[in-house]
């Protein structure tokens, strides 16, 4: 397992408030990692930094075998490097069909002229069918995404994430609004993805995290409070204080 992404000494402030404070983090490929932490710990901001949405005030974010810095790259360039993201609030294109949503995410050349000249291929269609199968939306491909239930939108977004075939998946609260059965299915999906890729999952639900059976990083006030197996970190005194204290 080699290091895929490495953050070191990253800090970011919003109007004087330190949302991320001297944070260091590493993930390999393939690896599954869960990130937990109380509300406002900086979990979403952490993803914003990796994906280029937020520029840190200090620190470095290095990517891949050649350790290229992601800090100077645009959001779209970072995504093309192979970093996909699922947002906390499901964001799919509600006015378009499930098929169109998946087709847009599918790994293909991203330039305007490539897209203009893009022709539907049988392979692409098959890939979309397979993804739909995986996210339980078979037979719903022609539906407008805005009509889907909350849980289905979550899955569609996970499907879009898989369609991009990224090397690193950043998944922010995937199980919110899902039934227990749906949660289980989501865990399976993520675990399967983590067999070949790096997956970072932010989740509040401890049961969900337990089922992921992976290393856990606890964030608090913008830095790492503890790291290790779930049992290890839940025994940590600081972690207990933070979680009991809220």
């Amino acid at each position: 397992m080699s290091t895929l992404l490495e953050l070191s000494g990253v800090s970011v402030s919003f109007d004087g408030f330190r949302a991320i404070n001297n944070l260091s983090f590493q993930i390999g490929e393939p690896e599954m990692r869960a990130i937990i932490g109380p509300n406002g710990a900086g979990k979403t901001t952490f993803m914003d930094i990796i994906t280029g949405k937020t520029r840190p005030d200090a620190g470095s974010v290095l990517w891949g075998e050649k350790s290229v810095s992601l800090l100077r790259k645009s959001e779209s360039a970072i995504a093309r490097e192979g970093i996909g993201r699922k947002f906390q609030k499901p964001t799919v294109f509600e006015a378009q069909t499930v098929r169109e949503n998946l087709a847009m995410a599918l790994k293909n050349p991203r330039g305007p002229f490539d897209v203009l000249m893009h022709r539907k291929t049988p392979e692409g269609a098959a890939r979309i069918e397979a993804l739909a199968e995986e996210i339980g939306l078979t037979g719903q491909l022609g539906r407008i995404a805005g009509e889907l239930s909350h849980g289905q939108k979550q899955w569609l977004e996970i499907g879009m994430l898989l369609a991009q075939a990224p090397r690193l998946l950043l998944v922010d609260e995937p199980a919110a609004g899902m039934t227990p059965a749906e949660r289980e299915h989501t865990t399976d999906l993520l675990k399967r993805a983590a067999e070949t890729r790096a997956v970072v999952v932010v989740e509040h639900d401890m049961e969900f995290v337990r089922r992921l059976e992976c290393k856990v990083t606890v964030l608090h006030e913008g830095s790492v409070l503890a790291e290790g197996s779930l049992d290890h970190v839940t025994k940590n005194k600081d972690v207990i204080d933070v979680y009991l204290g809220r």
Binding site: F93, A95, I144, E147, L148
Partner: protein
Amino acid sequence: MSLVQDSGPRRPFILRHPSVLLFLGALAAFTIVVTILSEAAGLGLVSTSFVKTLGKTLCLCLVAVAMDVLWGYCGILSLGHMAFFGIGGYAIGMWLMYARTEAIVADNLAAAPIPPTPQEISDAIGSQIFGVVGSSEFPLIWSFADSLFLQLLAVIVVPGLLALVFGWLAFRGRVTGVYLSILTQAMTLALALYLFQNDSGLRGNNGLSGLQNIPGWEDWPQSVVSLVFFWASALALALGYVLCAWIVSGKLGSVIRGIRDDEARVRFLGYHVESYKLFIFVLTAVIAGIAGALYYPQAGIINPAEIAPIASIYLAVWVAIGGRGRLYGAVIGAAFVSLLSSWFTGGGAPPINLGFYTIQWTDWWLVLLGLSFVLVTLFAPKGLGGLVDLWTERRRTADRVGDYGPDKGAWRREEGEE
């Protein structure tokens, strides 16, 4: 509907989109009827000046289609696209004016006892064209005015380049929404103010005139010329419509609609949003330029007032009233509103006497238009094009009974289609 698209051999684009076929059929029928009724064809039920009005309207429809792609599909409310339309008009107008003046001057000088030198001819043309602004020198900008080919090229290249530079600066700076609209208004205002100056080289507020006289077609009566331009405008609209329909129906259409609805999300999928906006901005500017180049020979005159900020606002109003996000809506809006506008402002509508006050439509039309715009925006966001839905929806049988969504309270189809 899209379920069936992927199976079987690929049918031609037009067959897969019946609305495009329907539009082309309607446009062809309209063109034929007008031709038969025109003076040139003998019936004379449609006057030559009305043929010109209709031809101009087709050009406005074309620029409205472009505006719809830009605004309705990509979400960029440009309030400056009539500047590109005007530039197209100026570009072709320069050749029209130069070539015609040259012919007149050559005629005059041919009678002279000594054959004129090229310099004398050039001076004579210069003083004919620029006399009104107290000059006889050819400004640099007229360097290629004697070449029809180069001026036609300018119809495409100048709006395209201006849009490229402007769009690059604006989109790269992530200027969006109302700020972008204001910036485009500033652009068209600056251009108009520049052209108003006498030393802009384009005859200041006089603009270019006599554009209805096509050099080389002197023997053709205006009834024929008007018909030729009417056809050309119809053809341009047909081609522009098919091009735009092809663009918005494919994957690019999907991406630009995504940009309209949530551009940040599109970025995180790896698409360079700014390039897409720039592509659409430049493409629509070029279409606007071509539409303008067909419009002004029918109008006969172009002056800087044509690219005043209000012109571009009208364009947005047409598209809004016609219905954003569907190309035929833009055509309906542009045709309906611009024809109605010339009826009202041309004194066609009888004044309404209220006893204490008489409504003169020349004064009140703008108020009526503004009011309609507000009402459509608030109460009928689908615009006139939305009326088509009433008809198609009645024919469509319900695809299910009861709740549409997977659970109660899920979006219904009508909501999802918004």
